[in-house]
Structure formats: C-alpha cells, structure tokens
C-alpha cells in the first residue's frame, strides 16, 4: 500500500508538473536564479580562498638575516632549534653566495646587481611556519637570537600579516552571511511560487480531503513535485555555471593579473553535489510550507 501511494504520488506529481507547465516553469526559473547566485557565491568564495591560501603561504614564510660575523655552528644550532619547534614546518639555510645568486637571477634586480661590489647581502634562514598566527612568535624568537643581523633582523611585517588574517576572517564571515541571506530569500520566494501553484489546485486538495485523504497523501505529490522542480532548476543552474566558470576566470586573470585566481575543475563536482542537494531541499521545503495552509483543516 505504501508502494502504491508512492506510485500515485509520483504519477500525480509528474502529471501536475506538465499540466501546470507555466507555474512549474516560474518555479524552476526562480529556483534556478537563486541557485546561480548561490553557485556564484560558492565559486567566488572558493576562488578567494585559493588566493588567500597563496598569500598565506607567502606570509607564513619569514627570513631571518644572519649577521656576517656569526659562526656557522651557531647558525646550525639555531636552525636545529627552529626545526625542532612544532610550529615550524621547514627551515632552509641560504648562504651569502646563494643569496647573491638568487638576487642576481631576478630580472627585476638586473641594473642594481651590476652596480654592487662584493656581497652586501646577509646569509639567511628561511623559516616556514605552519600557522599564520604563529609567525609573530617565531619572529620574536629570531630577533632575540644572538646571531641575527641587528640592523635588519627579519623581513616580518606584522601589520600586513594581521591585516591578512583579519581580511580572511571577514571574507569568510561575509560569504556565510551572504549564503544565509540567499537561503532565507530563496525559501520565501520558492514558498510563494509553490503556494501559487498550490492555490491553483486548492479545489483538488479540498476534494482529496473530503474523500478521506491523509495529510501526507495530499502533501506527497506536492513535495515530490517540489523536489523535481528543484532538481531541474539545479541542473540548469549548474550547466550555466560550468559553462561560464572557465571563461570568467580567464577574463578575470587577464584584467586583474596580480590576483592569482585559478580554474579548479575538481571544485565543480563538489559544487554539483551542493547545488543539487540545495535545489531538492529548497523545492521540498517550499512545497511543504506552501501546501500546509491548504492541507490543514
């Protein structure tokens, strides 16, 4: 009997979707638009987090300048001390000669490199810190070390790191906030669209109730229709986003070159899952709420 009821619900959902095509399409359209907005938000969020990850990598690396008169053993000891520290992922020692080679190999320094005599550059320890928030502690430790160059101890810029930290927090919050707003708006829109669809069929619901249909029997077809509508809308939104994703990234890259945005095909499958789930849930929830007024007696 459960199976028969389910079959009836599916059949009647399918029929009513096509019989009320105009209203169905309106619902599909509004859910599609909402899901496109949500999808764009997710994609932009993902791109930003990629960019932020890049920045994080850079700022979570500090170089400690070693003064010229420091004995090599002293440097090795400090390097070991740093490596043993749990907050540090890696330490690389760069000698004065290596530093000069690095400096000269950078084409931006071409003219300057020709003018320098001897080697004014310090040897340095490049320290990779696992967590961005631990960088300042490592910096403080390095400054206290006896072998550090007192005129230019490290390249750490506290302000910049703090701002980056704040920015990433704010961006994360803004993304969540935007998603929440979209969610509320979409449930309201979907609910109203589906309520319009239900309103057209209130007589049918009335007759169903009069001949003794249970609330779930009345609701079932509407909820299934809502899920169908949501899935169709999600598919359309997904198709549009997938088509537009790569060209948009390319365009952005050529316009704003300094932000290292990249195309990430692996993200599409997770986006697809999110959108389909969101579509189905939106449709189901919207129908459930939309139909409730008419189902209650």
């Amino acid at each position: 009997m459960m199976l028969r009821n389910l079959k009836f619900a599916f059949n009647s959902a399918w029929q009513s979707f096509w019989r009320n095509l105009a209203v169905s399409l309106a619902a599909v359209l509004s859910i599609t638009l909402i899901l496109i907005l949500a999808g764009v938000n997710l994609l932009v969020g993902h791109a930003f987090s990629q960019v932020l990850d890049g920045f994080r990598q850079k700022v979570s690396e500090i170089s400690v300048n070693v003064s010229d008169d420091t004995p090599l053993q002293n440097v090795y000891d400090f390097q070991q001390q740093l490596t043993a520290d749990q907050r540090v992922t890696s330490v690389k020692f760069i000698t004065k000669d290596e530093a000069l080679t690095q400096f000269k190999s950078d084409p931006q320094n071409g003219i300057l490199a020709q003018q320098i005599e001897g080697n004014p550059l310090d040897a340095k320890l490049e320290v990779h810190v696992a967590n961005l928030s631990d960088v300042s502690a490592i910096d403080a430790m390095a400054r206290k070390w006896s072998g550090v160059d007192p005129t230019d101890p490290t390249n750490y810029q506290g302000d910049f790191v703090n701002r980056m930290l704040q920015l990433s927090q704010w961006l994360g919050l803004a993304g969540v906030g935007l998603l929440l707003i979209l969610l509320i708006v979409s449930v309201v829109i979907v609910m109203n669209t589906i309520r319009t669809a239900v309103y057209h069929r209130r007589k049918e619901i009335e007759v169903m109730k009069l001949v003794g249909a249970t609330e779930w029997f009345v609701r079932g077809p509407f909820v299934i229709e809502g899920i169908m509508t949501g899935l169709i809308a999600a598919s359309i939104a997904l198709a549009l986003l997938v088509v537009a994703y790569q060209p948009a990234v390319d365009r952005f890259k050529s316009d704003v070159g300094f932000i290292p945005l990249s195309y990430d095909p692996a993200f599409i499958s997770s986006l697809a899952g999110d959108l389909l789930l969101a579509g189905a849930l939106l449709g189901a929830l919207g129908s459930y709420i939309g139909v409730r007024r008419y189902v209650r007696i």
Binding site: R19, M208, K209, V211, A213
Partner: protein, 283 residues
C-alpha cells in the same frame, strides 16, 4: 435515460425517473409507491448519528446553532429543511467535521466528532460519502479518474479500483462516459458522477448538501431516485435541501431548522408544517 429496473432490493421500482418527473410536475402524489422502495429504519436501536445539546457559534459571533438534539437510526433517510441561514449548512459542516461544535457532543457511529484527533479525520471521512450542490468534480480529470480518485486515496489496488468504479458508473447509469471530462456533461450527469464518487467506497453514510440545487426538476428527480436506491441498500442518508416538491412528495423524515434550532422533526413530514402558513416556528 431510464433507470435500470429490477436491481437488487429495489426490484419493486417499476417506474422510470421520467415518469416520476412527469408526476412531480403534475403534482401527483406518489407517496405510497415511494414508500414501497424503502427500508424502514428502526428507531428503537442505538442511533448512528446523534447530536446532544449542540451549539455552534462562529468566531465572528454568529450563533449558527442553538441546543440542537437529533437522533438518526441506521438506514434513515432524512431531509434537513429551513430558510437560508437557518443553520442547515452548519449542521452539515459539523457532520463532516469541517467545524467543531462550540458546546455539546456529536456522535457518529460511536465516534465523538468534537474530540476526534486530526489525524483520525481522514479515516472518518472514508465512512462518509459527500455530495454537494456544486458537484466538486475535478475538471482536469475524466469521469473515470474523478470516481477512481476516492479509491486511490484509500490506496486500493488497480484491479479493485476498476471493478468498483465500473459498478458505481453502472449504478448511476453513466457506463460508457468513462473518458468524458466533466465540462462535457450536463448538470445532472455531473451530479451523477459526484454521487458515483460518493458511493464508490461503499460508505455507511451519505451526506448531501443541496444536491438538486443546480438542477431542473426532472433531473432533480433522477438524482433523488439514486439517493433512494443508495438508501435502500442500507446507507443512512442526510440531505439538506430547499426542494419543496421532492420533500413533500417523498414524505420521509423531515427536520426543519429555523434560527439555529430544530423547529420540527416529523417521521413522515412535508417541507412546510402548514402549507397555508409557511415557516411557522414550533415551540
């Protein structure tokens, strides 16, 4: 248009609806003949419908029913009559539990409607067949689908649905119209579809609210014949009506409602208590 003859316990039905309609127009009393076709309800047994001091006041303050007491034995056929706004429709709405009584108790088949849980309501409604003045057919479903709808709701298997719908269509003489849409039927035919839907799940009660209100006299008679046949099969019929000719001709139980109260309860009554003085209040 003739009704089928010799079916079941109403084999005594020897005339057609057209005959009856003709007599109705000529105001020929067929009282004795119609009495032949019915079961006599047993008033001594426990009633299947009972109203005990029922009051209904709407949230707007309108007092629709005041201290209504009624008892209906199984197999009874009763007319609810009275002027518009007297409370007939409220009584019907209470019976199908669209409304709850403000005070008092209503029992149907041993269930107290006012205290019934909401989730039990669908199962109660399945015991009742409902017929309305405006038919309440679904325009986008065919005749067959409309009737089958009442069975599908119960989750019945296809073969059973088919058999019962065919039977119901036969009872209302609409076999062959299965695939027609309601818009292509006459008013009388639409009401017959509605009756078929009301009886397809073999309910114990038929509650009808002005079932002949939108029909011409001849068609109204055909519809009344159907109700009599259903009653003869054992279903209890409660019918709110304004159709004076039918009530006066059939001489069945008449309950007159006036200003929210039972003004009269006659086992074999007429539309008006006294033809010369219509709408007399008793008590």
């Amino acid at each position: 248009m003739a009704l089928r003859k010799g079916v079941g316990p109403i084999g005594a039905l020897r005339y057609t609806a057209r005959d009856l309609a003709t007599r109705a127009r000529r105001r020929v009393t067929t009282q004795q003949e119609t009495h032949l076709m019915v079961l006599t309800p047993d008033f001594a047994t426990r009633p299947v419908i009972s109203f005990q001091h029922v009051h209904k006041t709407y949230p707007t303050g309108t007092e629709a029913l005041r201290d209504v007491n009624l008892e209906v034995p199984e197999g009874d056929f009763l007319f609810l009559v009275g002027p518009s706004g007297a409370g007939k429709s409220t009584l019907v709405r209470l019976l199908i539990r669209e409304e709850k009584p403000t005070k008092g108790k209503i029992f149907v088949d041993g269930i107290e409607l006012g205290r019934m849980k909401r989730r039990k309501l669908p199962y109660y409604r399945r015991k009742v067949g409902l017929v309305f003045q405006d038919f309440k057919l679904l325009p986008n479903l065919t005749v067959y689908e409309n009737i089958a709808f009442a069975m599908r709701v119960l989750g019945e298997p296809d073969h059973k649905v088919q058999a019962r719908v065919a039977e119901a269509l036969d009872t209302v003489s609409l076999s062959g119209k299965e695939n027609t849409y309601p818009a292509n039927l006459s008013g009388g035919e639409q009401q017959r579809v509605a009756i078929a839907r009301a009886l397809v799940h073999a309910p114990r009660f038929i509650i009808a609210d002005e079932p002949t209100g939108n029909l011409d006299p001849a068609t109204a008679w055909e519809i009344m014949q159907l109700f009599l046949r259903i009653n003869a099969r054992g279903a209890t019929v409660v019918m709110a009506t304004h159709n004076r000719e039918i009530v006066d001709l059939l001489r069945r139980r008449v309950i007159a409602i006036d200003a929210g109260q039972v003004a009269r309860d006659d086992r074999s009554g007429r539309y008006h208590d006294d033809v010369a003085k219509p709408q007399v209040r008793v008590q």
